[in-house]
């Protein structure tokens, strides 16, 4: 028997809270790791090892005045961060973190929702999420925000092409668009990181650009540009943009674990624990990349996206298709 609606609801609430918790401590981990890379301590005042720092940040952001420019167009200005955060959270719902269990007489799946085209759904939600950034920058009625949001969507749109093309090989090998089926197939064969190594690299680079993190963090570019599309945002509205960016990163890492590192599969049948461990390792690598590489120039970013990643992703997909067809 398939699961009733209330089991999905419970799973959704648990997963949303777990993702938010991961986000909170991801910021802590990032500040801590970046600090140690730069021979600093990172947050160490709030609680032991600064573990209460995310909570202190949250309280500060909520109490802060959500300042809005008087010329801003109210409805889209307020809706934009909500759209960004909603799509970011919704995209995580289709990522499978376990094989599914039989509880009582219901078959409970290891994802909040299982849809046969979950991979497409993630990309679709990611594209909708870009609207949050564009609309937010446009509705602030500030030329800097508008320029920032144009910069952001130029980057996100050009890297989304490579991101979508890079998973084509996995889809061909997995013979499905459903993430659950792809993970099952990897359990039978091997993690697709081995046959799709090039695809994995393209996905990784495009993913960094897609979540606009260093070295592709031109949408934000802390040091040389005003913050970009969220220049005119403050308080928790700004916090929601930031949250959506980090949750996009978590979703993307989850997607990468699912597509290339066999999801919950691993020795000793640890199930969801393997998923979490792989996710954390990937998140650490993202932080490590941020701590190591300097930011690209804008023309380098565009050249890398269109002239390197896109051809490599296309050739990878074509070669994979030919090899699969030949065997």
């Amino acid at each position: 028997m398939t699961e009733p609606w209330w089991i999905s609801l419970i799973k959704a609430i648990v997963i949303v809270n777990l993702v938010m918790l991961t986000f909170a401590y991801l910021t802590w981990l990032e500040r801590k790791a970046l600090g140690r890379i730069q021979l600093r301590y990172g947050p160490n005042r709030a609680g032991p090892f600064g573990l209460l720092q995310p909570i202190a940040d949250l309280v500060k952001l909520i109490r802060k005045e959500a300042f809005a420019p008087s010329s801003a167009i109210d409805a889209p200005y307020i809706l934009a961060p909500i759209v960004a955060m909603f799509t970011a959270l919704a995209a995580f719902s289709v990522i499978p973190w376990g094989p599914g269990w039989k509880i009582y007489h219901w078959h409970v799946t290891g994802a909040v929702v299982t849809v046969p085209i979950s991979l497409l759904l993630i990309f679709a939600l990611g594209s909708v999420g870009v609207y949050g950034f564009i609309v937010g920058g446009w509705a602030s009625e500030s030329k800097f925000s508008l320029l920032g949001s144009m910069r952001t969507c130029a980057q996100l749109v050009s890297y989304e092409v490579s991101l979508a093309l890079s998973v084509l090989g996995v889809v061909i090998l997995g013979r499905s668009l459903s993430l659950v089926d792809i993970v099952h197939r990897q359990g039978e064969l091997m993690p697709f990181a081995a046959p799709q190594f090039v695809g994995m690299l393209v996905f990784f680079f495009a993913g960094i650009a897609e979540t606009s993190r260093a070295p592709f963090d031109l949408p934000e570019a802390d040091t040389e540009l005003v913050a970009g599309y969220h220049t005119e945002y403050s308080g928790m509205r700004w916090g929601m943009f930031q949250t959506s960016e980090y949750i996009n990163l978590i979703t993307l890492s989850g997607l990468m674990v699912t597509l290339f590192f066999a999801g919950w599969h691993g020795p000793w049948h640890l199930g969801p624990l393997w998923f979490v461990l792989k996710l954390l390792a990937l998140l650490f690598i993202f932080i490590w990349v941020r701590g190591t590489l300097p930011r690209l120039r804008y023309d380098q970013l565009m050249r890398f996206g269109w002239k390197v990643l896109l051809p490599v992703a296309t050739i990878n997909a074509v070669v994979t298709a030919l090899v699969v067809a030949a065997t």
């Binding site: 140690r36 301590y41 590489l293």
Partner: protein, 165 residues
């Protein structure tokens, strides 16, 4: 120089090694780094060994002060109220610490070495009025003290303009 991808990967090794090292940051309120002995901090007014004030109220420090933060009002010494060693003494001696730039010109201007700059730098207050230091405060030992590095190790020889005093 190694080719591009290899040197980039080497960079990842460098940053990872940094994580295992001990951070260089000094945890300030818990650990106070010893101040350099000639660091110019909070002012002091000094007394002679016999208890008389060195300051004679000449206002040269106030004249030398580029931030105009010193206020001196002098009064005559009388036989039954002798405060300083000279003819006159400073009835009011105030330094506005929120304006002071700690340049040390007052110290240079003083003919009797009555005012010097100490090493204390923790002089922030919650109220601007508390930043105006009166003569009593300047004459007393500072309440907050910071550690000072060994003078013999870190101090430089007495400068030429001080050599005769």
């Amino acid at each position: 120089m190694s080719p591009q991808p290899i040197s980039t990967l080497k960079g990842f090794g460098v940053t990872f090694k940094q994580i295992l090292k001990k951070p260089l940051t000094q945890q300030y309120p818990e650990y106070k780094r010893p101040m350099y002995p000639r660091f110019r901090g909070r002012h002091r007014l000094w007394l002679h060994d016999n208890g008389l004030e060195k300051c004679v109220g000449c206002s040269l420090c106030a004249a030398a002060c580029p931030a105009d933060c010193i206020r001196v009002v002098a009064a005559e010494n009388t036989p039954d109220n002798r405060v300083s060693a000279g003819e006159r003494y400073a009835r009011i001696y105030e330094i506005n610490m929120s304006r002071c730039i700690f340049c040390g010109y007052c110290e240079l201007a003083c003919p009797f070495d009555a005012i010097t700059l100490g090493n204390e730098f923790e002089i922030s207050e919650y109220n601007r009025d508390d930043q105006i230091y009166t003569k009593d405060m300047l004459l007393a030992e500072p309440i907050k003290k910071v550690p000072v590095a060994d003078r013999d190790l870190f101090d430089t020889p007495i400068p030429y303009y001080r050599s005769d005093s």
